[in-house]
Symmetry: C2
Subunit: 451 residues, 2 copies
């Protein structure tokens, strides 16, 4: 039995839904279908979920929301008309959208209101997709998450599946029908809707795959595979056939954007195999994500980069004799609610690498002053506009020379290394470089390891 999740781009239009239908029809094991809300039909289109957020904002602010209701309904109508689904489903969806405003107490908690509105994107789409499947001969029905057993904690926008939900979800395994379940939300014990935080439909699919002990969790998106480097930088990059969860985590660090890696935790912990596939090219094998994999000769299986880092450099004579210095640095960061990525330390120096978006110039000045006044550093300065590049691979551990090959490649490309971090992770080496060199760096590394 396979659990299959389709993302927004796979459900954005009738053309896409037709592909989805064929995918489900082509494999009788595809029994539980988790769906997102309709995504963008083109680059400048709007996601239905974003429209629903605008709708909720307008409702909460007592502004006029009729125009936005129309826009939302029209998105579903366009699909439903093209697929000739008939008036009933269109009427249901229209009533569902209008009903959000009609049936919500304006006094209700804003976060809860937001969750109800947002969830309706997936919910209505699941009904639409189920109708479409049935119309085309599949023994399919819509199943509400509450019925499916998706009982979650009462934390709007940040729900967690409750541990004892899994026994209910297990019962879905024996379904004769194809179940179309909306992703992204669950119900509290009291029957309130709460959405998951990030990568919502991915989380639902992952939970259901884990709960039903699925043989496979197929995550359909709009790329053939996870690539060894970003297709925007490298022409026709190598498609990764298999990744371990660890490797995927390291690559996601730099935001491949295929899906949210954290969403896979439930599948990971239950040992469910995951495969990433392309709705637009379903016969392509995709990328399998496993707990472990057979290692080949390759050391490096992927390269990822991300910009937007800053580095605070500090030195103090005899720093390494000061017990607790590093701990005090981290306490100051924590006190300022700042996350740090890395903290390479030397004898008399320490550097902190952070994501720049956390730093206003006010925060930055305050941090510098605190390090001076509370830790009495001799010297401190900040470099902005840094990128982190990760080369990733379980096989790197046994491959003497990966560090040499990569530093060589970067050096030959004229890229100066602000930071090298090898040793913390078994499956990656991290380089810090100036962001203006990010593209060159990734291309140089790709060429070294894949050509």
């Amino acid at each position: 039995m396979k659990v299959v999740k389709f993302g927004g781009s796979s459900l954005a239009s009738s053309t896409q839904l037709n592909k989805v239908l064929n995918i489900v029809k082509s494999d009788a094991q595809r029994k539980i279908i988790v769906v997102s809300a309709p995504g963008k039909r083109s680059a400048d289109d709007e996601k239905v979920t974003d429209l629903l957020i605008d709708y909720a904002d307008a409702f909460l602010a007592n502004l006029d929301y009729q125009e936005i209701q129309d826009r939302i309904i029209q998105r579903y109508e366009a699909i439903a008309y093209e697929l000739e689904l008939g008036e009933t489903i269109i009427g249901d969806i229209r009533q569902g959208i209008l009903g959000l405003a009609e049936e919500t107490e304006s006094s209700q908690d804003a976060a809860r209101v937001m969750d109800r509105f947002k969830a309706s994107g997936e919910d209505n789409n699941a009904k639409l997709v189920a109708t479409y499947f049935k119309k085309n001969g599949l023994n399919a029905r819509y199943m509400n998450p509450q019925e499916a057993g998706m009982i979650v904690s009462d934390e709007p926008g940040n729900a967690l599946i409750l541990a004892n939900s899994y026994s209910q979800i297990l019962k879905l395994r024996d379904t004769d029908e194809i179940l179309v379940i909306p992703g992204f939300f669950g119900y509290t014990k009291d029957g309130d809707i709460c959405t998951f935080s990030r990568g919502g439909s991915d989380i639902t699919g992952s939970i259901i795959a884990a709960g039903t002990h699925a043989d496979l969790y197929e995550n359909f998106t709009d790329v053939d595979a996870i690539y060894a480097a970003h297709p925007g930088l490298v022409k026709h990059p190598h498609k990764i056939k298999e990744l371990t969860f660890r490797e995927m985590r390291e690559l996601s660090y730099a935001g491949f954007g295929v899906f949210h890696d954290e969403a896979l935790i439930p599948a990971f912990r239950a040992g469910i195999e995951v495969v990433i596939k392309n709705t637009n090219n379903p016969s392509a094998p995709g990328t399998r994500i496993l707990l472990d994999r057979q290692l080949g000769d390759e050391g490096v299986i992927g390269i990822a980069g991300d910009s937007g880092f800053a580095i605070f450099y500090m030195s103090k004579y005899l720093m390494n004799r000061e017990i607790g210095f590093g701990r005090k640095v981290l306490e100051i960061l924590e006190d300022e609610s700042l996350n740090y990525e890395h903290m390479p330390s030397g004898i008399d120096d320490i550097s902190i690498i952070l994501r720049e978006h956390q730093l206003t110039s006010e925060v930055e000045d305050r941090l510098i002053n605190r390090f001076k006044e509370e830790l009495h550093v001799d010297e401190i300065y900040v470099n902005h506009n840094l990128s982190m590049i990760a080369i990733v691979g379980e096989g790197m551990k046994s491959n003497v020379g990966t560090a040499a090959k990569s530093t060589n490649a970067l050096s030959a490309a004229g890229v100066n290394l602000e930071m090298i971090n090898q040793g913390s992770s078994e499956v990656s080496i991290l380089f810090g470089i100036k962001s203006c060199h990010e593209d060159i760096a990734i291309k140089a590394l790709y060429k070294t390891f894949f050509n």
Copy 2:
């Protein structure tokens, strides 16, 4: 005006003292001479300071100490007789050594007793050296540290110079006489002797050089220079002409053993230039240690290595989302009174590199349990027998390719890299490797950067 310090090997025998005399005679600016106790005359000889420690231990334990008194006195006698210094100084020294036991209350605090005994090594030697200088036509005299202004905190074995001592020390600048001052100890305000902790006579020399605003602080030892790599590993290693304080610190990390780098803090902070010279070859230029230096083409000026490290590796899914994880790791280390050297962190991994001597198997097991129970890590293991290798140089910052050259060299030599740490320090790159590869690694790096 120059402050000159002579270490134990330079004062171990009459032959050595003759060289010292000639060094002081050859430059009229050499006005303040700081001396250690007599050192080893040969590899299997004993240092006078170690004999004095044995003497103190015996005294405190009420054991017989006559034999050890004789051994100590005989060391000074041998030198004094060969230099034909006459009976007066020999009698003074003999009385000084015997007097330690006679004049000390057995009830006195053990640490204070130890300090008094240890300090007599330098103290008696300064009297001997002053006598020798006078006999040979120099206008020289012994000066007690109390008279010199070396007033220190009341911390036996770990004294710190008091801030207002410096104004007293400054008066020494105008001396007409050559002053021979024993290193290693000072006096509390109450007149008790307290020794410095490490590199004792180096600290005295450094303090006096700083206090007198000396033009130069000459540190005479038994090597021509600080070498670019350990002479035990590399034949005739390059002699470093100039080092910055920062570079010297990084090289000392791996225990070059020439002198105690921390001892130079007072000179460093006062901007006094320091030079390391060889008593046995005083015309060799030695190594100058400066605040800044003119950078040449060379990126790397030295390579140092040290063994005895262990690495704790830990991983936990979503570690980098857990606010405060790194801080909690450091708190546990601090709670266990453990110093850490480096803590490279990744996305889901963190490693801690520590000096192994801190870890009994009990401490190690406890640490592992605490990380499991308090931090719920998924995986944790420890690797022992690691070495850290540092390549050092102020010029490395602007030398693209140093990382590449070094990782290449190590890779070609078959050395696997457990850790690379670049970025925390501006003037060094640190490599963690298995200790069995330490020698090969240093040789390979030396060949790359110096041949």
